[in-house]
């Protein structure tokens, strides 16, 4: 009995220690945002009114716009993350649904054909036909697509990939280091801008497109589990009555998967909101997002902690709200399925 209570004390100490470790930085940034310059450089202080005299100056500066255009950047972040998440959730849940309810057979050789023909068509167009980089790129992509889809219908030997492998293919995209494609996209976007005048660098469309692509693996993975947990009987009944698939999807499946869709959308918004590397590389000014603005604050006013604290809180607050909402949903057992 004594041993048991010892154990209880140890776990309680562990939890309290971790609680302090987790919360102290948050508290620190919160009080720092109310400090005056003197209160910062006078050494660490923790308690407003006792340690230092709180002021609203930093907040006032941020909202009056005298410290750079916070609002424009804030809304850039909002539009881009909402748009990218919505598109990704729509496309991703369609794909996830298809992967649960239909069977796909993709020949491994067709994938090899895609990569090989993409590469060779690109080199052919660029070196032999002497086309521009972007034209060759588009040409190669179409060739590769057509060749691989046709080769998939031919009776080719080799292993056949099934639904699970397709899901794995989607998920494995997250393994790819972002710098690889960020750099490639930067080159491609700037080439497209030079060759055709379509502006993708530092634009809403360019950044949103790349975030959609990078959120899709996550959405497909999570949504597939939600769809798998849905009962199939209703859908089968509707199929017998000759209801078209898209109506089944929109009118039966989507309403049932609503909690899942909401959770996945929130997670995706969080990912896009926090993303730094793509935003840093693909934007230069107009469509900067909050993380890029924040990283600039670091070099311009490294010592003005009060300003940094306010900017930090503005960036973090929406994420804290999302985390708390998600935490509540998770308690009701919603996310359990997706973990296995």
């Amino acid at each position: 009995m004594n041993k048991n209570s010892n154990q209880k004390i140890i776990t309680q100490i562990l939890c309290i220690a971790w609680l302090i470790f987790t919360l102290f930085p948050l508290y620190w940034i919160f009080v720092t945002s109310f400090k005056s310059p003197i209160a910062v450089t006078g050494g660490p202080t923790y308690l407003p009114w006792i340690d230092f005299e709180p002021t609203l100056n930093a907040w006032h500066d941020a909202f009056s716009g005298s410290r750079g255009d916070f609002f424009a950047t804030f809304f850039n972040s909002v539009w881009i993350s909402v748009a990218a998440s919505l598109i990704a959730v729509v496309f991703g849940s369609m794909a996830a649904y298809a992967l649960v309810r239909f069977t796909f057979k993709v020949k491994l050789l067709a994938g090899v054909v895609f990569a090989a023909s993409g590469m060779s068509c690109y080199l052919l167009a660029k070196e032999i036909f002497d086309w521009k980089d972007t034209t060759s790129m588009g040409f190669a992509f179409l060739c590769a697509l057509i060749l691989s889809v046709t080769s998939n219908r031919l009776p080719l030997p080799g292993p056949i990939l099934r639904n699970n492998d397709v899901v794995f293919w989607f998920v494995s995209q997250r393994m790819m280091p972002p710098i690889v494609s960020a750099f490639a996209l930067y080159m491609l976007y700037s080439k497209i801008g030079k060759d055709s005048g379509v502006r993708l660098l530092d634009s809403f469309a360019g950044l949103t497109l790349c975030y959609v692509a990078f959120s899709l693996p996550l959405v497909v993975w999570l949504m597939r589990d939600f769809f798998e947990s849905l009962p199939i009987e209703v859908e089968e009944a509707a199929l017998v009555d000759d209801v078209p698939r898209w109506r089944i999807f929109l009118e039966i499946v989507i309403p049932m998967a609503k909690p899942g869709l909401v959770a996945v959308t929130m997670i995706t918004i969080g990912f896009v909101w926090n993303e730094f590397l793509f935003a840093l590389i693909l934007t230069t000014g107009d469509w900067q997002t909050l993380p890029v603005l924040l990283s600039g604050q670091n070099s311009y006013r490294g010592d003005e902690w009060w300003a940094i604290a306010v900017a930090n809180i503005i960036a973090i607050a929406p994420m804290l709200i999302i985390t708390i909402l998600l935490g509540r949903m998770m308690r009701s057992g919603l996310m359990l399925g997706s973990i296995r």
Partner: protein
């Protein structure tokens, strides 16, 4: 009788992923075999494996790989051990468990750039609260971000702070999914908590642990945000990570061919790591099932 609508469902997502994430690789792969630079301009010329050979011969490249690996290994180990311990504590219905559950998750979705800035003020050598703690114990003004070992420690602290919640979340969900009757049987046999953990909990959660560690390792290898803000790769290049190195070469020096080669090696490295990990763990996981 084939249902054509499945193509309508699957293709939009597939096309976007192919177009944006995979196809640009063709372009960089091509570029990685060229000698191409923007500043000062160097007209593109094919040089075979020249970039790769140059990279392998560069000490900086190896030091960057070493830095990143140590960083990933230490921080993921800490995250896993601490996260699992805290998940066990929460699962044993410690008092105040509901409060802990919500607050422990808070760091997870916070913007890494903001987190790094926040911790940079915490680690300030003069005005930061951590300096005060160290001064109290008789070690004034520790070089948190300006000396090799210290800056590693600082970066790892931040990573652990932000990502342990992910491990807690996953392991807690795993613990809750375990069947309770085994534990009751073990308790009737008078098994101690340690015996139950080593004999039941840990083996049963091994597949989940493998997945969690894998996700964390892959994500940690990509790290740039924290390092970019807190040390900028310094002191010198002591904390430079792979992504930061590639970024510096590509978008500060505009060494296009060279950067493409770095990116590709990085990609190959991650793929090999993934394969090795799966080959080692697959039999283990399947044996336990």
């Amino acid at each position: 009788m084939r249902d054509w609508s499945r193509h309508v469902f699957i293709w939009p997502a597939t096309l976007v992923v192919l177009l944006v994430t995979l196809f640009p690789l063709v372009y960089t792969l091509d570029l990685s075999f060229q000698n191409s630079r923007l500043v000062p301009p160097l007209p593109p010329k094919y040089i075979g494996f020249g970039n790769y050979i140059k990279l392998f011969g560069q000490e900086r490249f190896w030091s960057v790989i070493g830095n990143t690996s140590i960083f990933v290994f230490v921080s993921v180990t800490l995250q896993y051990v601490l996260g699992f311990a805290i998940a066990l504590a929460l699962h044993s219905r410690v008092a105040g468990e509901r409060l802990y559950r919500i607050t422990f998750l808070l760091p997870m979705l916070m913007t890494p750039i903001a987190v790094a800035l926040l911790w940079k003020t915490m680690f300030n050598q003069q005005f930061g609260p951590l300096n005060q703690v160290f001064t109290f114990f008789g070690y004034a003004n520790p070089p948190f971000l300006t000396e090799n070992i210290w800056s590693y420690g600082s970066l790892i602290t931040v990573e652990v702070w932000q990502w342990t919640p992910f491990v807690i979340l996953m392991m807690l969900a795993g613990l809750q999914s375990l069947p309770t009757d085994i534990f009751e049987a073990a308790r009737l046999e008078n098994a101690s908590s340690l015996q139950m953990f080593l004999g039941i909990t840990f083996p049963m959660l091994l597949p989940l642990s493998a997945a969690v560690i894998f996700i964390r390792v892959v994500e940690a290898f990509k790290i740039i945000d924290t390092v970019y803000i807190m040390t900028g790769g310094g002191p010198g290049i002591a904390t430079e990570t792979l992504t930061l190195f590639a970024y510096q070469e590509g978008l500060k020096k505009f060494n296009l061919g060279y950067t493409s080669a770095i990116s590709f090696l990085f990609l190959i490295f991650i793929i090999i790591f993934g394969l090795i990990y799966m080959v080692i763990l697959k039999p283990q996981i399947e044996k336990r099932r």
